[in-house]
């Protein structure tokens, strides 16, 4: 057990700090300012900004820190990855773009793709030259994700895909998409699913925005009408796509990165309490301290989970456990941020007197999706009970 850093790691940290200090000066005027409202999070302007910053990080060698060099990564260590998240958080710098490419599609290609696929797609995922999205959920495949109805029929040198997907994040700006399709309707549920990917310009796809309770539309519905996908655009073996999608937990998707970022949210809410003049309220102090406790527990639980995974080659119990905790933690934090604002919590972006331009209001509303979007908390608790604790299925 050693929570301290090696000299090499400290050097990496210094390099990163210098880079951030220098380049954060180039951020747009609205960034980090609380007296100016930035663009809407679902706007083209925001997307462009996000990609612009991502590419600067990429050019400096800070994207794909643990990915192999031959595919555009840094070939670095997990500890450097941890440091990256720590410094990004500490500097309140923007994070990476292309979240689904880096968190889901890339790792799947890395683990299950052909050498050709890796060479072709991974570098551009890291550089965000190509934005990726995922098509997993369907109207009848929510918690029951293996209930995939979207069909891909063998058309010789291509697949013909028909069906509907929902909750696809970023599909409206993506260049490529991965999708779970049923390629064999005869076998039992988890078998017979394949993991295809396609150029988003392929004819027959209709993407339409799905407005969520924040009023913005970061998610989409997508309809596939006789969409032809080249036969070789499958990741891993045909009919084994379920196991590709459920693949190894990557750091970008692990709770460790999130946990570190969430320390910053706690600092943010403490600052908010002070500014609203409620930091002397004993109840508010208790609740803020409890959030700090939770973020520390989350961080060290997630890091211990990572150690376990590195040692054993498979995620430890801490993985599933910190995922459910992390999501519910954020909901508690956002809920408290609203409470602290008292009547001001009712005012949203665009209103006179809105606190921090309504950022908290948006984040609060958005947080209600946290316990649904990557598997509901109920499903995650089932997984903890059955796979971690070994309790019997009914």
């Amino acid at each position: 057990m050693d929570f301290s850093y090696t000299p090499e790691e400290e050097t990496f940290r210094d390099e990163l700090k210098q880079w951030l200090t220098m380049h954060m000066k180039e951020l747009p005027e609205w960034y980090g300012r609380r007296d100016i409202a930035g663009p809407d999070v679902d706007s083209q302007e925001y997307h462009d900004f996000s990609v612009w910053w991502h590419r600067k990080l990429y050019d400096a060698g800070f994207v794909g820190i643990t990915w192999p060099k031959e595919y555009g990564g840094r070939g670095g260590t997990i500890m450097e990855q941890v440091i990256f998240y720590e410094e990004i958080a500490r500097h309140r710098a923007p994070g990476l773009s292309n979240a689904h490419g880096i968190g889901w599609c890339g790792p799947a290609i890395l683990a299950h793709g052909s050498e050709e696929q890796k060479k072709r797609y991974l570098p551009k995922i890291l550089s965000a030259e190509e934005i990726w999205c995922t098509f997993y959920s369907e109207p009848e495949a929510g918690s029951d994700m293996a209930n995939v109805q979207t069909r891909a029929v063998d058309g010789g040198d291509h697949w013909v895909v028909n069906g509907q997907k929902v909750w696809s994040s970023g599909a409206h700006v993506a260049d490529w998409g991965v999708l779970l399709v049923r390629t064999d309707p005869e076998v039992r549920k988890h078998r017979g699913i394949s993991y295809l990917f396609l150029d988003m310009k392929t004819p027959g796809i209709t993407v339409s925005p799905l407005r969520n309770i924040t009023g913005t539309a970061e998610f989409n519905e997508a309809f596939f009408d006789n969409v032809r996908i080249p036969r070789d655009q499958v990741i891993g073996e045909v009919n084994m796509g379920w196991y590709v999608a459920a693949g190894a937990l990557e750091f970008e998707r692990s709770s460790a990165g999130t946990a570190i970022a969430r320390e910053n949210s706690v600092k943010g809410i403490i600052r908010l309490a002070k500014e609203m003049g409620h930091n002397g309220d004993p109840m508010v102090r208790q609740k803020l301290a409890q959030l700090y406790v939770e973020t520390m527990v989350l961080k060290y639980m997630a890091l211990r989970g990572l150690t376990h995974e590195l040692r054993e080659g498979r995620p430890g119990p801490q993985g599933a456990v910190s995922s459910v905790f992390s999501m519910e933690f954020n909901q508690r934090l956002q809920d408290l941020a609203m409470e602290i604002q008292g009547p001001y919590s009712r005012l949203v972006r665009g209103s006179k007197h809105a606190v921090d331009h309504g950022r908290w209001q948006h984040d609060f509303l958005r947080s209600r999706g946290n316990t649904i979007e990557t598997g509901t908390s109920e499903i995650k608790r089932n997984i903890i009970a059955q796979r971690v604790l070994g309790l019997p299925r009914q």
Binding site: R211, N212, I213, Y344, S345, L347, H353, L365
Partner: protein, 377 residues
């Protein structure tokens, strides 16, 4: 002994439910969120015709002469339907205050107009501190001959943009305590009065109201000079219980809607309502909603009886309902899964209202401390 609604109250509830189901669909609720006025004059007129506006006023002021508990039953149904507009501002905040503190002339002037749906009113209470205590009142009203001149800014004033008159809570004497606070009836068209609508999460219209030397005649003083705070305190009890009724109606909608969905939505080949996690989640909400209903009716009864425990009962109800409405809608979204997170589903309308009601008139922590004081802990 009789610890539940009487027959007439059940009838009132049923007819209100039927009426609102028909006349206040969610389409109207959503339209009014973006509407500048924020209410439907047609629905307003219909409700007045049904006698709702004057329900809890005596017959001598064109009211129906029913109890505050009856009004509570109505507010429960309005909360369930999310009726948009200035009903509570007009009838409870202004109407009940005038009824309690106004002189005969003031009552005759305003109450029949309210009962008839002819006037819209509100109360300007909160200021920038958001504080519900006398220390939160900094707007001043200075005597000037027979008149008073009001200066300062009020915040979070509901429906001020459409109000014909406002009741302004102002300081008529230096200090920060409860002595020296007075209430004034202010014509919304007065010179120097400026209203700016704020944007809210629920689409409710809250306003900033700026008084720049607004002159009101001395005859518009409501209640005793410097003795306004007890009137406010009394009104707060009623406003809190009214808010609780509204919340409880909404919480019950969230519960019932979630139960219905859990019965019909299938995953893993069975209705999700067969899963014990869903069953227990909804059972917990049911416990809270049943409790909310019971305590709100009791608190309303205590107001009607002017029971010495009414302030305590109001705080108990607000503590409970603040948590209940929030849980009912939080769990409502969770039970609905992705669908519950969409703009198109109605759950978020209630969910947002739950969050806004949670902080209205003091959150649960505020009321728990108040209860501790009232119990002399």
């Amino acid at each position: 002994m009789d610890f539940d609604l009487g027959e007439e109250q059940v009838m009132l509830k049923t007819s209100a439910r039927d009426f609102l189901d028909k006349e206040c669909p969610k389409k109207l609720v959503r339209d009014m969120m973006d509407d500048d006025k924020g209410y439907s004059p047609e629905l307003w007129r219909q409700m007045a015709d049904l006698g709702w506006h004057g329900l809890a006023f005596p017959e001598e002021y064109d009211g129906v002469g029913s109890s505050f508990l009856d009004l509570t039953v109505l507010l429960e149904e309005m909360g369930r339907a999310l009726v948009p507009g200035p009903f509570v501002s007009t009838v409870v905040y202004a109407g009940r205050t005038i009824l309690a503190a106004g002189n005969e002339e003031q009552k005759q002037r305003f109450l029949p107009a309210i009962a008839g749906g002819e006037t819209i009113m509100t109360m300007a209470l909160l200021e920038s501190s958001g504080d519900l205590e006398p220390s939160g009142i900094a707007v001043t009203a200075s005597p000037s001959g027979q008149d008073f001149v009001i200066n300062g800014t009020k915040l979070f004033v509901p429906d001020a943009h459409i109000a014909d008159h406002l009741i302004c809570v102002a300081r008529t004497k230096d200090g920060t305590g409860e002595d020296g606070i007075s209430l004034f009836l202010v014509d919304a068209k007065s010179e120097g009065l400026r209203v700016e609508v704020l944007s809210t999460m629920t689409g409710e219209k809250l306003c900033e109201v700026t008084f720049s030397g607004v002159t009101v005649p001395g005859s518009n003083l409501l209640g005793k000079l410097n003795g306004g705070w007890p009137v406010v305190r009394n009104l707060l009890d009623e406003a809190i219980v009214g808010e609780c009724a509204w919340m409880m109606g909404g919480a019950r909608w969230a519960l019932e809607t979630s139960v219905d969905y859990a019965k019909e939505r299938e995953q893993f080949g069975v209705p999700i309502g067969t899963f014990q996690a869903i069953q227990h989640k909804l059972a917990n909400v049911a416990v809270e909603v049943e409790g909310a209903t019971s305590i709100v009716y009791y608190a309303a009864w205590a107001i009607d009886e002017n029971d010495p425990g009414k302030t305590l009962a109001a705080s108990v109800a607000k503590t409970w309902c603040s948590d209940t409405y929030k849980h009912a809608t939080f769990e409502g979204i969770q039970v609905h899964g992705g669908i519950g997170f969409t703009w198109d589903h109605d759950m978020h309308l209630y969910f947002k209202r739950a969050k806004s009601s949670q902080v209205a008139f003091g959150d649960a922590d505020y009321h728990r401390e108040r209860i501790a004081q009232l119990l002399d802990v």
